[in-house]
Symmetry: C2
Amino acid sequence: MKETKILLSEKEIPTQWYNIQADLGFDLPPLLHPVTLEPTILPPPLFPRAMNDAEFSKERYIDIPEPVRDVYKLWRPTPMYRARRWEKALDTPAKIYYKYEGGSPPGSHKPNTAVAQAFYSKGEGIKRLATETGAGQWGSALAFACQLFDLELKVYMVKISYNQKPYRRILMETWGAEVVPSPSPDTPVGQQILAQDPDNPGSLGIAISEAVADAGPRDDTHYSIGSVINSVLLHQTVIGQEAKKQLEMAGDYPDILVGCIGGGSNFSGFFLPFLKDKLDGGKPDLRVICAEPMACPSVTKGPYAFDWGDTAKVAPIAMMYTLGHTFIPAPIHAGGLRYHGMAPIISALYDRGIIEAVALHQNPVFEAAVSFARAEGFIPAPEPAHAIKAVVDEALKCKETGEEKVIAFNLSGHGHFDMGAYDEFFAGTLQDYEYPGEKIKEALKELPKVGG
Amino acid sequence: MKETKILLSEKEIPTQWYNIQADLGFDLPPLLHPVTLEPTILPPPLFPRAMNDAEFSKERYIDIPEPVRDVYKLWRPTPMYRARRWEKALDTPAKIYYKYEGGSPPGSHKPNTAVAQAFYSKGEGIKRLATETGAGQWGSALAFACQLFDLELKVYMVKISYNQKPYRRILMETWGAEVVPSPSPDTPVGQQILAQDPDNPGSLGIAISEAVADAGPRDDTHYSIGSVINSVLLHQTVIGQEAKKQLEMAGDYPDILVGCIGGGSNFSGFFLPFLKDKLDGGKPDLRVICAEPMACPSVTKGPYAFDWGDTAKVAPIAMMYTLGHTFIPAPIHAGGLRYHGMAPIISALYDRGIIEAVALHQNPVFEAAVSFARAEGFIPAPEPAHAIKAVVDEALKCKETGEEKVIAFNLSGHGHFDMGAYDEFFAGTLQDYEYPGEKIKEALKELPKVGG
């Protein structure tokens, strides 16, 4: 019998993160201060120095501190699977591989950066972190990390998710975090919103504003973020470095890499170490396909523009694909993909035509996820289900052409907390929200006026 | 940094199951027919021949079919962890190891036997399986297995769990199974119960009766069971065989093995390959501690007696520790530990004083589970949380005596489907049900009159 998964030993956990900024061949646009619109760093009262250093570094490799690697050992290296049963079910000549990040304690890729951020803040004498979370993947990963490094954590959780999806809230509490529904009465931003609209269901943009407003004035508290910024993408590159070694062991190199993008961190962590080979000319034909939801299609439908990272305009301004910082997407189940902007690194690569993107509706996404689950066993979270649909489309193209392409994707988390979404899919009540063109048009009027 | 987990390669998945019946040194009492009370086999219209053969075999090792091992590769070998952070938190000189079975697609140890049973039934030309499930661990594992071997599956799910815990029901449906609440109108047994009591909340005993009644009259259908019987325990011995090799690699041999028991299969799978060394005299001091809930304390409080395996008395009679086949335990969160009887193998070993048992209340169990989760990250299911409490007790004894004992336990599944139980624990609303002595006394009046 052939191998099903390719495993690495603990010793093979990468010792360094890979920094794509060394190989981009161009400079990323600057971050801008949310009020002055002048170039800024990651503000030191909010972020650990090591995060800021990595954010703008051009070093190709940055050492992973040993205590961080030591925590990674709880679930890393993660397995790389050859999806033989699914290939057969799809009747495709393509070879499909998936990297599985769902085996971590919180069930997703998020702790790869959460652990690093908690370690750095602890090392700078910080006692407490504040963060936002949507459906709870990020908040639970940071709660796990803060518990291990003995830090307090306050999580501002989008109110509609807080009420509708209690399981990840309890997960955070089990790891010792304090979780409040956002907008909350605990910050000036939250108070203001509640005064105008006591029933405001919350949004990721509002929750970010609250977490930043919490951490800003406090010397003992850092703000922590789960995606978008360069240093977070950097921390996720353990995924792709492992994946590259594992595919090498299998004797394959990918023709196509696929992943889902919300803020962009899981897929960047997966594809950036491979993209190095495309940027240096070694693998010019490597295709990278980003899958995003049609309900929040920042890359495929938004402009590449400067915009604030949050609703209340307290976070820095970044050059990115954006739907406008006031845009609130429809309540799709892939809560992790409901962000108005996109990682500046992904944005810059897409703008230059180096990577591709597709926007997908919920029903075909869940149909693909079920076909995967029935063949491979693992139940995908709604976010990587988007990647799975994009893989199906490429695999079926191979069926038509007869090409034996190697397709690899990142299965960033399990769906055991998201079974309600599958229930709706089977019941036929899952909505395919139309492309929210008018709402986006409105929100884009609020972009900052930068430069000429 | 020291190793956190001990990993094996796919090649090291055991090629044979270990059969303790070869080494017991005594014969297990016979199974009896539910009506005639005469010795019986596993009735062939209900079970695959291979299951029946294994049930009464004295061969020490039984080959694992290659297609079964091939499916095992989706999540096996499972990791063995050294719980260094938890040891530190407990301030114990004991060395604590845990085998983690929560990484399988359904999140528990159950597919180890589900895959084997589905394979055997498929090989005998069967089209369809019927089974019971409580909280859904077993039903979801069998749904996963049936999907891979292209078998239909009907699951009779205890009604109270069907209504209160929809996530595992959806999991089963995602893998293509039909799930109905039991008692159901689909079987004569269910019809009879519903006629007397339309609001009957169901029980595992009733659901077993319905699944047996479904499969019995149909040539195309086998009945499948997730615990208790010898052949199911046999399939789980992949856990202990891997664990033994992993501890050997770590240079340790356990002084104490701990696990939770409901029907007895996860812990038997873990400890039986080690128990061989105690039975043959090589490790006379090896201690084996079974942890069961005080709300359903079959081994610690029940008699060792012949009893039916199900409520409606359609399943065979076994000699086992039992609380009476009509006993319905309080609704503790560890649904997998709510069975009135116990595996005949565990029962016989306990009766002879070869293994030990403790009965535990919910609150101290969850307190222990939280201490584990905060140190090691992984969230235990309520069932193995019982094992964790028993480990805490032994580790704290070591702290008193200063002994550096090696304690190993089986973490049979993750708790991501059970966060509601943790919520109740934190809210202080989790009940410690009193020992149900009177109810047990009543139920024990219904034991069959066997022999003298």
